[in-house]
């Protein structure tokens, strides 16, 4: 064994409890320790990912009880891939936000970094846990961190955004609890593999009711259409790096939870069509809402929601190819959207309203940041030779192979809308005159490094997509083979007899 998945959760928790203590003695530690923890997690998770890609899935039991009885952590190619991605982004966001704003007091800074770390840990927990109630607990950890981070600035609107998020989050946790109650009352178990194993025993009515409540509960985290009203507000009002973390980490965890339900837990074929429909509606509504935005981060938020819609469409195709495409899309979105948020947050750094019109002409004054923003915009609308193109191509190929021509057409039409609003911003950055009252903020060196890392990944994947495709193929294989997942988890203990 190369590492232990439980450390991915335990170490950040330990650090979270430790930081207030050490912070009393050495103030800088509150900023440094989360970074060290995230770096440790990154190394550990990456090495485990390499291991599971070539060998078998790592399954870790907790408290010594085997699969259906105790909680277990599953580090498979799929979960490992997503966990590594999230931790990587967490690290990038940490690197970026290290001393992001200089005049922040000690207490808020401490809290910011604790919450950031717990956000990552919670999201990783959502992904690698093998137990639905445990997943619920991790969703709550992530959500509370997210509420707190959204309300981080003491401005007028951040509390409002956070409150909306919390309102929806409470509904989400209620729905999840109801769903868990139904599942438990019928199957007497909470382990995902065990549930999947016995799902055929459950009466159809209960099964679908439970799925519907799950959809609502997790849909709020995954930002599907009627449930995503909180998202633009939270993205807009949270500090810039946190918008990146939401787009790259929190949503991805929600999407994972959703697909785990649809692909593994429940054996309802119609849920695939549901994913396609809901994904398309999300995509269309969000992208069309984005076009008239006058705030930069809000526009990015809508775009992010739209991309999640596309991810759901890709998952809804239901073939291994579709899953591959969806995961590729998630990967690319998790790299590109944070880059946009991070560079965007420097573009509107000193502005109060964060309006798009305030980025006019900044291309000359902050060349690298602007260039990275433009790179992100080019990549996210799917222009070759950047990474976004390959994922869009795989989605379309997968859809075409299933004969979903109408869906391809819709997705492409929406892409044109996307092009319009992204290019309007890029044009503003480069070809407009800067207004005099905009104060330019040079990025700090660590922020620059963080953005450059993301930018170079876009280029590398763009020129050679095959360096990630092996992980994606393994992961999609992992998601498609429900039986293998069940056997992997349950084989270490004996399955409960029926």
């Amino acid at each position: 064994m190369v590492g232990s998945p439980v450390l991915l959760i335990a170490i950040p928790l330990l650090a979270a409890f430790l930081i207030p203590l050490i912070g009393m003695i050495w103030k800088e530690s509150v900023r440094l320790i989360p970074g060290l923890v995230l770096a440790f997690m990154l190394v550990s998770s990456a090495s485990m990912l390499l291991y599971v890609t070539n060998n078998s899935t790592i399954i870790e039991t907790i408290a010594g009880w085997q699969a259906p009885w105790g909680i277990n952590l599953v580090f498979s190619p799929l979960t490992g891939f997503l966990a590594t991605l999230m931790i990587f982004l967490g690290f990038i966001v940490w690197l970026f936000s290290y001393r992001f704003k200089r005049n922040v007091d000690f207490e808020p800074a401490k809290k910011y970094f604790i919450f950031l770390m717990m956000l990552v840990a919670g999201a990783v927990g959502i992904v690698i846990t093998g137990d639905i109630f445990n997943q619920f607990v991790f969703i709550e950890i992530t959500s509370i961190s997210a509420y707190a981070l959204t309300a981080f600035y003491t401005g007028r609107n951040s509390a409002e955004a956070s409150f909306k998020y919390l309102l929806m989050g409470s509904l989400s946790s209620s729905a999840l609890l109801i769903a868990i109650a139904i599942i438990y009352s019928q199957l007497g178990t909470l382990n995902m593999a065990d549930i999947a194993d016995k799902m055929y025993l459950m009466p159809t009515g209960y099964k679908i009711t439970a799925l519907i409540f799950f959809f609502m509960g997790i849909g709020i985290e995954a930002e599907i259409f009627p449930l995503n009203g909180w998202a633009p507000d939270a993205y807009t009002e949270a500090p810039g790096p946190i918008g990146a973390a939401f787009a790259g980490i929190v949503v991805k965890a929600g999407v994972y939870a959703m697909i785990r339900l649809v692909f593994t837990l429940f054996d309802i074929p119609n849920s695939m069509q549901f994913l396609v429909v809901i994904g398309l509606v999300t995509l269309i509504v969000a992208e069309t809402s984005a076009i008239k935005q006058d705030k930069l981060k809000r526009m990015l938020a809508y775009s992010s929601i739209g991309q999640m819609g596309l991810v759901f469409v890709a998952f809804g195709i239901g073939t291994a190819e579709g899953v591959f495409a969806a995961l590729f899309l998630m990967l690319n979105h998790a790299i590109i959207k944070p880059l946009l948020f991070l560079s965007g947050s420097y573009l509107v750094f000193n502005s109060k309203e964060k309006k798009i019109s305030e980025v006019n002409g900044l291309g000359k004054h902050m060349p690298i940041t602007s260039l990275l923003f433009a790179l992100g915009a080019f990549a996210i609308v799917g222009l070759p030779p950047f990474s976004g193109f390959w994922s869009k191509l795989s989605v379309l190929t997968a859809a075409a192979n299933e004969g979903m021509i109408l869906i391809i057409a819709l997705v492409l039409i929406v892409s044109v809308v996307e092009i319009v609003y992204y290019f309007r911003v890029v044009n503003r950055i480069y070809f407009f005159e800067k207004s005099d009252n905009v104060v330019v903020q040079k990025p700090r060196i660590n922020a620059m490094i963080a953005m450059l890392i993301l930018g170079s990944i876009i280029l590398v994947i763009g020129f050679d997509p095959d360096i990630v495709s092996i992980y994606l193929h393994k992961a999609s294989h992992d998601l498609m083979n429900t039986r293998e997942y069940i056997d992997n988890v349950l084989s270490i203990g004996q399955s409960l007899t029926k």
Binding site: F163, K164, L167, M168, L171, A175, T204, G205, I208, T209, I212, F213, F215, M216, G219, I220, P226, L227, G229, W230, P232, D233, N270, V285, T288, S289, I291, K292, Q293, Y302, F378, L383, P384, P385, F389, W390, L393, S394, L396, T397, A399, A400, N401, G403, I405, I408, L412, S415, V416, V417, I419, V420, F423, R424, N427, F431, F432, D464, P465, D466
Partner: protein
């Protein structure tokens, strides 16, 4: 390393280095720029041979690069015009800001066009197509003028076209499980009827946008006139030919195999005809030389599309010949306008006049290009047009002949206006300090001017490669060369030259030129526009009395009813309407947290009802 890789890498590396190292000093930048265009060009013509393909895999898609005869023909246009325009650009753009960015984009667009020509599969074709689109987009917005309108319009239309192509590509992939163009062509016959229509149509939309076919041409005038002229010559000359290139492949290799596909061909031909007429009329109405040339490009591309649409070997021959010629003379004309704009600061025909004595070399190259454009022998434009008429009549498209003939006659109007407006007429005082453009600009223009003459005189130089390309596409040659079928070569010329005709015309031409020059020197009295005193009204200082003012007013009044309905306004109507709708949809997000919660409850109720409907309780 494979030569093809090396060429593309050299282009790409050149683009990056020009940008990065260009910040050090302008000289390094200029040298890097020119050498990274010229060196791969030389390497290409020395080393790349037709029929040698390389292939590799990306993400499970098999990609293949190599060059065909047809593509080789187009690579003459791209690399030839590219090299000349790059030399021109160094002189023309001197002293402008952000030149590193401009140059690297220039190289990128040349690279992408070469990539398109080198692609033997649809994915890499699309990739290079998109790179071409965004690099040319960056050129359109380079001067920062009207970027939100013109630039976005260009990109949106390009994206619509590109996405139509992409859709066709993924459908092809799902049907044939391969992306090689050769596989598409070979298995096209086995597709279902709907797919046989859908795939060529989608591909044609993509190509039609780039080749500015009506009704997808609306981006072209703005985009052509907004980018720096050194690039516009590439844009109009070479970049739009990529659409033509794709269109030829689709029309010949795919559309021919559609049952009842001739309807599509007819439609395309007629759309081409309408494009030609519309472009010409609009060009006549323009006062800005850039806009005039832009509309003229649209019109000329219309002729080419007519030829492609007719689809007989002779028509194809004429279309390809016109494509080459158009690249040369239109590329040159844009360079001329660039030179004039650089020297005088304006490109408006009503403001500048009488430059013939100030910029004689520019005038001569403009004259050659205009003559070629108007289709007067012995310059190149004539051969293409002749063959077009011949093929139209040969395939019984008499109505289309009339349309094309009308438009090419009307083309005289704007040709004349262009030449007259800039070079002839009175010399204004304010232009008295104007000097000839620097040699680095004049030489490329003169080379192109000579090229129009050479190709007009020796059309075989181009017709032979064209013939190779056509044979490769499947027009199996039975009796030697196709172009020998043309009366032009049967009756009056041998196989390479149009000797007697040509010599006669050259003699007449030279004689008249000499005569006019000598006569002109003797009797000319130089006056300015303000130097008139008819009916006792002395014109005011700022009154614009240039001849080019309201040049063809009677004619325009006659055709006004046709020109009133601009397609552009429909498109902007659609755009504005959509934005209004989108503005409405975002009101779903009311901002009230409670409403969002209500949505969640509605969501669950709807799903529960669905569940009841689908599965029972």
């Amino acid at each position: 390393m494979e030569m093809i890789y090396l060429i593309l890498v050299l282009f790409l590396g050149g683009a990056v280095l020009t940008w990065l190292l260009g910040k050090i000093s302008p000289i390094i930048r200029d040298i890097l720029f020119i050498s990274s265009v010229i060196i791969p060009t030389v390497l290409f013509f020395m080393n790349v041979e037709v029929g040698h393909d390389v292939s590799f895999q990306v993400l499970g898609y098999k990609l293949s690069w190599g060059i065909s005869y047809l593509a080789y023909l187009f690579s003459y246009i791209v690399l030839g015009l590219g090299s000349l325009a790059s030399v021109y650009a160094v002189a023309a753009m001197k002293g402008k800001k952000n030149l590193g960015f401009f140059y690297s984009n220039f190289i990128l667009s040349i690279m992408s066009m070469m990539g398109i020509l080198l692609s033997r599969d649809l994915i890499s074709f699309f990739i290079f197509w998109e790179i071409m689109t965004w690099s040319s987009y960056l050129m359109v917005v380079f001067r920062g003028k009207d970027v939100q309108k013109v630039g976005i319009k260009y990109f949106v239309f390009s994206a619509i076209g590109a996405y139509a192509m992409l859709m066709a590509i993924v459908i092809v992939n799902s049907l044939t499980n391969s992306l090689l163009i050769s596989d598409l062509v070979s298995s096209f016959g086995s597709f279902s009827l709907s797919m046989k229509w859908l795939i060529p149509l989608l591909l044609l939309i993509g190509f039609a946008v780039k080749s500015a076919m009506m009704p997808l041409h609306v981006w072209a005038p703005g985009a052509y006139s907004n980018s720096p002229m050194a690039f516009t010559s590439m844009f109009s000359g070479a970049l739009s030919k990529m659409g033509v290139y794709g269109m030829i492949i689709v029309m010949v290799s795919l559309v021919s195999y559609i049952p009842n596909g001739f309807w599509l061909k007819e439609t395309i031909a007629w759309l081409g005809g309408i494009t030609a007429v519309g472009g010409t009329l609009w060009a006549v109405a323009q006062d800005d030389a850039k806009k005039l040339l832009a509309y003229s490009s649209v019109a000329q591309l219309g002729y080419i599309i007519v030829g492609i649409g007719i689809g007989t070997p002779l028509a194809m021959l004429s279309a390809l010949f016109m494509a080459v010629m158009h690249a040369i003379f239109k590329g040159n004309l844009f360079l001329v306008v660039g030179a004039i704009e650089r020297q005088t600061g304006t490109s408006n025909l009503t403001e500048v006049s009488g430059l013939i004595r100030k910029m004689p070399w520019t005038f001569i190259s403009a004259l050659f290009s205009i003559i070629a454009l108007a289709g007067i022998p012995p310059l190149g434009g004539f051969v293409g047009k002749w063959m077009l008429y011949e093929s139209l009549i040969g395939s019984n498209h008499y109505l289309l002949v009339i349309v094309v003939f009308f438009s090419s006659t009307a083309a005289f109007l704007y040709s004349y206006k262009f030449l007259f407006g800039f070079f002839l007429g009175q010399e204004e005082k304010e232009w008295s300090h104007i000097k000839e453009a620097p040699a680095m600009m004049v030489v490329p223009m003169m080379i192109l001017a000579v090229a129009t003459f050479v190709l007009g005189t020796f059309p075989g130089l181009v017709l032979n490669p064209i013939d190779n390309g056509l044979q490769e596409l499947g027009f199996a040659s039975t009796q030697g060369r196709y172009w020998e079928m043309s009366a032009l070569f049967n009756e009056w010329g041998n196989q390479v030259m149009l000797q007697p005709l040509v010599y006669a015309i050259i003699a007449v031409f030279l004689f008249f030129a000499a005569f006019l020059t000598i006569k002109g020197f003797k009797h000319t009295r130089y006056v300015t526009t303000k130097d008139i005193s008819s009916s006792g009204e002395v014109p005011k200082e700022h009154e614009n009395l240039t001849f080019s003012q309201n040049f063809f007013q009677p004619f325009l009044r006659a055709v006004e009813p046709f020109m009133k309905r601009r397609i552009d306004t429909y498109y902007s109507g659609i755009g504005n309407g959509l934005e209004a709708i989108f503005d409405f949809t975002r009101r779903i997000y009311t901002g009230n947290g409670q409403t969002y919660a209500l949505y969640a409850v509605i969501f669950i109720v709807v799903l529960l009802m669905f569940k009841n409907a689908l599965f029972g309780l």
